[in-house]
């Protein structure tokens, strides 16, 4: 129960942080900030997966969701920025 | 048997391998893709054949080596085999069509295409809901990619809208799936069916989520802006794939989901489909972009199919037939149309007139459009028939009305488009070339439609009775269409004579009368066709198609055969009418009124079949369910063909603009089909002891008013053929009036009118048509004095107008005399007086016709015209002989007619005493009157001739008044607006308020369409909002 309670507290923390981050991502003017925020949300999600005994999912989410996806976003941002310049 | 998993394995194996094989060049990979697709087609065909003809039972395919639900399994059953065959076949044909586009984009595009087709197959076959999700994602991604086969920004933005929309939908779908797993512990569809998911706790909402996303994938109106865009923006060949293959797969998905959704969904599914069908087709009305219009049409058709799915329990064992009948027609036809749109490459509907340069393309286009609307002999005809019959039988008439309304909307824009193609102004002379690999698939789908139409007619006993001999003859004539007129005309005439000879012993007297009018009249009208030089491409097949339909109506033993013939006749006559010079809009309105009428008839047949065990045409004699409505619908349906007032606006233009020898076909002959229908209906209503006296009373008034307005409108025409056309309306009014009286004499009068009208209107249209060919104008005030140049034509017109006006001693008087006796005996005095009044009005236009054309001063530019062509004179004078025989010996025709009518009205006939006919109030001796008048006329003529034997013949300009003849424009000619005073007095009666009414109706519908389609703002985000809103609305509708 203790471990469970700890997990719950951690989850609430991660959850609140995720929600805040996702709002930041949606409403921020700066695109790169928004992308990073989403990447962090994804990372938090993968931590959450670990808490929920899903190591496979956690690995995948970390590698693909928060890693590669963010990378591609940056490619696009980079491209846009270059065109703007 | 090759297991269906090889469909997947082949596609993926080839697809993955192409990554290395692409160094052999794009032609190699292209060929590989084609080979893979043909192998996939082969697999599904093999299953289809085995399941359908060898009674093989359905087969499950297990993956992973475990039984479901623990592993994913696929099912190859009867329906799956059909669906996958359809998908793979169109995939193959589409790959052929898209060969160059795909090649240009490289092996990647070829692979994506192949995988798309594979994924659609899996969508059909899989029995695992999450697997369904995975492969629908593949489909979405592949489609989003292949939209880019078309270059330009439009396709990119369409693709983006598509992918974000499908992502939202799949999000909802995924939520539904995981919750389904959560509450049931399984992902297998068969398990869901077994445990009836919707009865689980929380099952309804889970089913809702899954269902709504399956529905959204089908692009329901109005949450479908993203779906329409891809039709418009992608390469035509790919739009064809979306419309044909993707649709098939998505519908199948819906079908699978409905299996476990529970019956309470059926109604909502049907409703969603119906809204989509009507809404989409309504919006199609305003389109002038071809692809987008086809997109609306596709979505509309899908809506109809969704409705059918919703009704699958109600339709019972006929449901698969209906569903696949409509689906297959849509599938082939829409693919063909999209492909054509890629070949023609005219984005605006009006620009489609360039298709005329290649008439064979026009044939293909016509095939597809007629198949879409549901004309025979295409599968959709039988499917729609069965659908309407079954829906009516199960008491869902409201739905039938919705279906028919939507179909009508669809017909409006499709036929408008077709009209532009046939008759639009060809201002652009842009060249286009037909690539071989593009036209081959179009041909294949077009021919498949015909072949399927033939086979599907053999589907069960009630459809297999259809007589295909006339159609085969039409096909023959079509095949020899490259030959000169001389040969085709002769073959056509011989064929019709022969057919008449074989068919007439089988017909009863009633039908024999009409058969004579249809076929003998047709032959006479065809004789005039010898005038034409060259090939006259396209005329003979359609003319014979109309005759095939007409004779089909007469031979019909069942309601289905009747309707089959009716639709053939409509199709043939539509083509005949649109051949005229400025016939585009008239042909369209003809088609629409005909279709609306046909739908009314269809519904009525449906109502009639309620509670009957047979399809025999005699069921209309004993309608058990809401008979008054059924009879009213039948009569309205037939009145569209007889062009009764209110439903007549198509006629004047259609008849006036038709070719010279076509006008008699569509006027003197075609209109009689409506008359035949009315006769059948009235017989059905029970002739002698008719319980629907209100209905026939209304019909009587309608006939009388039609006669009045038709004749009055004819008076004010300046166009000779238009005048005759209005005159036909009036004459048909008499006929309807006569039949409506429901007495022996009334019917006798009506039949007399029918026969007479056939004769004199044929003569008039042939003669005036021939004159028009000579003088090159329809306007009467531009003619005059032609009596000197065309005495034969003048005599023909003189005799027929005397007959038409009913002046004794010619045959028209017989009709009048019978009609007034009937009116007085029936007691319809006021209607009778109106009919009489219109009869006198006929003098005005008849005088105008003959005097403006033949009398008065000859025009300068007509100094050198010749007598009308001998090929017109022959049929005209044959008809005149007939007319004179009728006049001199009326009993020859009236007595057999009386005998026939006695079957229905034993009482109140004519008494014959030699040539003297008597009723209880009047008497008439046609022969004697003829003799007396003839002798008297001869005496007086010789007397005058004797007195003025030395009379000197002078030119017409040598008149007492002056030799002065100032140059004047034609509109100051005395024949122009000759009845101006009359117009001032009574013209208000013929103000075009009926036309205005229909125009207003059309405008309102179009305005609604224009208004509603503004929801498609083009903004992808708005479309997403529509989707979410749609989900929310359906949620609340469904759960409250």
């Amino acid at each position: 129960m203790n471990r469970e309670f700890l997990y719950i507290v951690l989850t609430i923390f991660l959850g609140v942080a995720s929600i805040v981050l996702s709002f930041i991502s949606i409403h921020s003017k700066k695109l790169s900030l928004a992308v990073i925020a989403v990447g962090v949300v994804s990372l938090f999600a993968s931590i959450l997966f670990l808490l929920m005994s899903a190591p496979d999912v956690a690995m995948t989410e970390a590698a693909i969701g928060s890693g590669l996806t963010t990378l591609i976003f940056f490619y696009v941002l980079n491209k846009i920025k270059k065109s703007d310049a | 048997m090759v297991t269906p998993i090889f469909i997947v394995a082949t596609a993926l194996g080839v697809g993955f391998a192409i990554g290395v094989l692409n160094k052999f060049g794009r032609n190699f990979t292209g060929a590989l893709v084609l080979a893979a697709l043909s192998f996939m087609t082969f697999i599904s065909f093999q299953w289809f054949y085995a399941l359908t003809f060898n009674n093989l039972s359905e087969a499950y395919v297990f993956t992973g080596g475990f039984k479901p639900p623990f592993a994913i399994n696929l099912l190859m059953g009867q329906y799956e085999s059909i669906a996958t065959l359809m998908i793979n076949l169109i995939g193959f044909l589409g790959a052929v069509y898209l060969y160059k586009s795909l090649k240009e984009r490289g092996s990647d595009a070829q692979v994506v295409y192949l995988i798309l087709i594979m994924a659609l197959n899996v969508l059909v076959m899989t029995r695992d809901i999450f697997n369904l999700f995975v492969f629908s994602e593949i489909t979405s991604v592949a489609i989003a990619g292949l939209i880019l086969l078309e270059k330009g920004t439009r396709s990119i933005s369409a693709g983006f809208k598509y992918i974000i929309a499908t992502s939202v939908i799949s999000t909802i779908f995924l939520i539904g799936i995981v919750f389904a797993y959560f509450i049931t512990g399984t992902l297998n569809i068969d398990d869901f069916i077994g445990i009836s998911l919707s009865t689980y706790k929380g099952g309804t909402i889970v089913v809702f989520l899954i269902m709504i996303s399956a529905v959204l994938e089908l692009k329901p109106f109005p949450a479908n802006g993203w779906g329409i865009d891809i039709y418009e923006a992608s390469e035509a060949g790919f739009s064809a794939i979306i419309s044909a293959a993707t649709t098939t797969a998505s519908l199948f998905v819906l079908y699978k989901i409905m299996a476990f959704a529970g019956a309470e969904w059926n109604y909502y599914i049907a409703l969603i489909g119906m809204i989509t069908f009507i809404g989409s087709n309504l919006l199609g009305l305003k389109q002038d972009n071809t692809r987008r219009m086809l997109g609306y049409s596709s979505i509309g058709q899908v809506g109809l199919l969704i409705t059918i799915l919703g009704f699958k329990d109600i339709l019972g064992e006929n449901a698969p037939f209906i569903f696949f009948g409509i689906l297959i027609s849509h599938y082939f036809a829409k693919a063909g149309l999209f492909w054509l749109s890629g070949i023609i490459n005219a984005s605006n509907l009006k620009a489609w007139s360039i298709i005329r340069k290649k008439p064979i393309l026009l044939f293909l286009m016509g095939t597809f459009i007629f198949a879409l609307i549901g004309f025979p002999p295409f599968p959709s005809f039988f499917a729609k028939w069965t659908l309407v019959m079954d829906l009516v039988k199960t008491g869902n008439i409201v739905w039938v009305i919705g279906i028919l309304l939507g179909s009508l909307f669809e017909a409006i824009y499709l036929f408008r488009w077709f009209g532009y193609a046939i008759k639009g102004d060809a201002e652009k002379t842009e060249e286009y070339k037909i690539e071989f690999h593009k036209i081959i698939p179009v041909w294949i789908v077009a021919l498949s439609l015909y072949v399927l139409g033939y086979f599907i007619a053999q589907y069960n006993e009630f459809t297999s009775v259809i007589n295909f001999i006339p159609l085969a003859f039409v096909a023959l004539i079509f095949a020899i269409d490259f030959m000169p007129v001389l040969i085709k005309n002769t073959i056509a005439i011989i064929g019709m004579i022969f057919y008449f000879y074989t068919i007439y012993p089988q017909l009863d007297n009633l039908r024999l009368i009409f058969e004579v009018i249809f076929l003998i009249g047709g032959i006479l009208a065809l004789i005039a066709g010898y005038l034409h030089k060259g090939k006259r491409i396209g005329f003979y097949p359609v003319a014979l198609l109309m005759y095939a339909g007409l004779t089909g109506i007469l031979e019909a033993k069942t309601t289905l055969e009747f309707f089959y013939g009716w639709e053939l006749m409509t199709a043939g006559s539509y083509f005949l009418i649109i051949r005229g010079k400025r016939s585009m809009t008239h042909a369209l309105s003809y088609m629409l009124f005909s279709l609306a009428g046909a739908y009314a008839i269809l519904t009525a047949f449906g109502i009639a079949s309620v509670g009957q065990s047979t399809w025999s045409l005699s069921i209309i004699n004993n309608i058990q369910y809401i008979p008054l409505w059924a009879y009213s619908l039948l009569i309205i349906g037939f009145l569209t063909k007889t062009a009764s007032i209110g439903l007549h606006i198509w006629l004047p233009g259609a008849h006036a603009e038709a070719e010279s020898d076509v006008s008699p076909m569509v006027s003197a002959i075609l209109l009689k089909a409506g008359v035949f229908g009315i006769v059948l209906t009235l017989i059905g209503m029970g002739a002698e002891n008719n319980q629907y006296s209100e209905l026939v009373y209304v019909l009587g008034w309608l006939g009388a008013i039609t006669a009045l307005i038709g004749n009055l409108a004819a008076v004010f025409q300046e166009d000779a053929k238009r005048l005759l056309a209005y005159s036909s309306i009036g004459q048909l009014g008499y006929i309807v009036f006569g039949f409506a009286m429901m007495t022996h004499l009334g019917w006798l009068a009506a039949f007399t009118y029918t026969i007479n009208h056939f004769m004199y209107k044929s003569i008039l249209f042939l003669t005036i048509g021939a004159v028009v060919l000579r003088v090159k104008t329809h306007n009467m005030y531009e003619m005059g004095g032609l009596i000197k140049k065309m005495p034969f034509a003048f005599i023909a017109v003189l005799i027929s107008i005397i007959a038409l006006s009913g002046v004794p001693p010619l045959s028209g008087f017989a009709g009048k005399w019978l009609l007034y006796n009937a009116v007085i005996l029936k007691g319809w005095y006021l209607q009778g007086a109106i009919a009489f009044f219109s009869g006198i009005i006929a003098f005005l236009y008849l005088f105008k016709l003959i005097s403006s054309i033949f009398l008065g001063q000859l025009k300068d530019n007509h100094r050198n015209v010749k007598e009308i062509s001998i090929w017109f004179i022959i049929p005209i004078y044959i008809l005149i002989v007939g007319l004179m025989i009728f006049a001199a010996k009326p009993e020859l025709i009236l007595q057999p007619l009386g005998t026939m009518i006695s079957q229905y009205f034993p009482e109140g006939g004519l008494n014959w005493n030699g040539g003297m006919a008597t009723t209880s109030i009047g008497y008439w001796h046609g022969t004697h009157i003829m003799i007396i008048v003839g002798i008297m006329f001869a005496i007086l003529f010789s007397w005058l001739a004797f007195l003025s034997r030395k009379a000197q013949k002078v030119k017409q300009f040598n008149i007492v008044y002056s030799g002065e003849r100032p140059f004047t424009p034609e509109t100051t000619h005395v024949s122009y607006n000759i009845f101006a005073g009359y117009n001032k007095a009574l013209g208000f009666l013929v103000l075009p308020w009926i036309t205005d009414f229909w125009t207003l109706t059309t405008n309102i519908v179009h305005d609604i369409s224009g208004f509603v389609r503004r929801i498609y703002s083009g903004n992808g985000q708005t479309y997403l909002t529509h989707i979410v809103l749609y989900v929310v609305v359906i949620y609340f509708v469904f759960f409250n």
Binding site: - | F813, W924, V933, S948, A951, Y961, F979
Partner: protein
């Protein structure tokens, strides 16, 4: 049909009587008209003089065969009406060929002459003929409507379309005349008769007081003679028709002459009182008063 020469003779005789009575009647009417207008007027034999003069004109022209046939049609119409009309009640010899057709035949046979005349005049190529015809036809259509209503009313009242039987039904006293048994029908028909005769106010067709326009404009000489012959016959036959239908018919020539004169006088009388209508006015007028009377006649059945 067995040719009954006695009957043929009587028919011809009747035709001659009718022709002469028609000529005389028109002379009388013109005389009366002149006196009312304060003029002296023509001598009573003037119509005969005109007729002989017309027939005797030597130089004649024609515009073509239909031009020729026009008057023939016209006269055939008049004579035909006479042939199909029973002239005297109760007399087989004076009933002409009325047993070959009934009232509807009569109604429709009126058109025979009109149509032919219209065509003949049309071929004359004279614009004024055209105008006259168009006016005549326009007016004629509406004249016939109240007439038809009246006829239907009669046919229903007497349950026959045979003129002889209608006359027979009116025998036995003046109160049996249709005029009293069916006054609305009579009124409607009598009003339409005004138009049929084409006297003022319905004489725009021929417009006789101005330059000679109207259907016969181009006709002269023999042709005009034929037309005038027809006019004389037609006037009498039409009055006889009305006499038969509404005023009890006639059983002898004297009665016929009195009754037809009175009926004819009615139209002349109205003509002297009212000015001429334009064509649309007359069309509308006929569709108002007489039509309403006719409808009442039918509704009262």
């Amino acid at each position: 049909m067995n040719i009954d020469f006695t009957k043929l003779f009587f028919t011809f005789l009747g035709l001659m009587i009718v022709l002469n009575w028609g000529l005389l009647m028109s002379a009388i009417m013109r005389k009366i008209g002149a006196r009312v207008a304060g003029r002296y007027g023509i001598p009573w034999f003037q119509p005969w003089v005109d007729l002989i003069k017309n027939y005797a004109v030597r130089s004649q022209i024609t515009h073509g065969i239909m031009f020729y046939l026009g008057p023939v049609f016209r006269l055939s119409g008049g004579v035909g009406l006479f042939l199909f009309m029973p002239i005297l009640f109760g007399s087989n010899l004076w009933s002409n060929f009325s047993f070959q057709g009934d009232l509807i035949l009569i109604l429709y046979f009126q058109f025979f002459g009109m149509l032919g005349m219209a065509l003949g005049a049309g071929e004359g190529g004279q614009p004024h003929s055209f105008i006259g015809i168009s006016r005549g036809l326009s007016q004629f259509t509406t004249i016939e409507v109240p007439m038809t209503l009246a006829v239907i009313s009669l046919a229903v009242q007497y349950h026959t379309l045979s003129i002889s039987e209608i006359v027979a039904a009116q025998q036995g006293g003046i109160m049996n005349w249709t005029m009293f048994t069916n006054p609305f029908a009579t009124a409607a028909a009598m009003l339409s008769l005004l138009g049929a005769f084409g006297h003022s106010p319905f004489d725009l067709v021929k417009a006789p007081n101005e330059i000679p326009i109207g259907p016969p404009t181009e006709y002269h000489g023999t042709f005009l003679g034929v037309l005038r012959t027809n006019a004389a016959i037609l006037h009498v036959v039409e009055t006889v028709l009305f006499m038969n239908l509404f005023f009890g018919g006639a059983s002898n020539w004297f009665e016929l002459i009195i009754k037809s004169f009175l009926i004819y006088f009615w139209s002349v009388f109205v003509g002297m009182v009212f000015p001429r209508f334009r064509i649309e006015q007359s069309v509308v007028w006929f569709l108002k008063v007489p039509l309403i009377l006719g409808i009442i006649a039918i509704l009262l059945l």
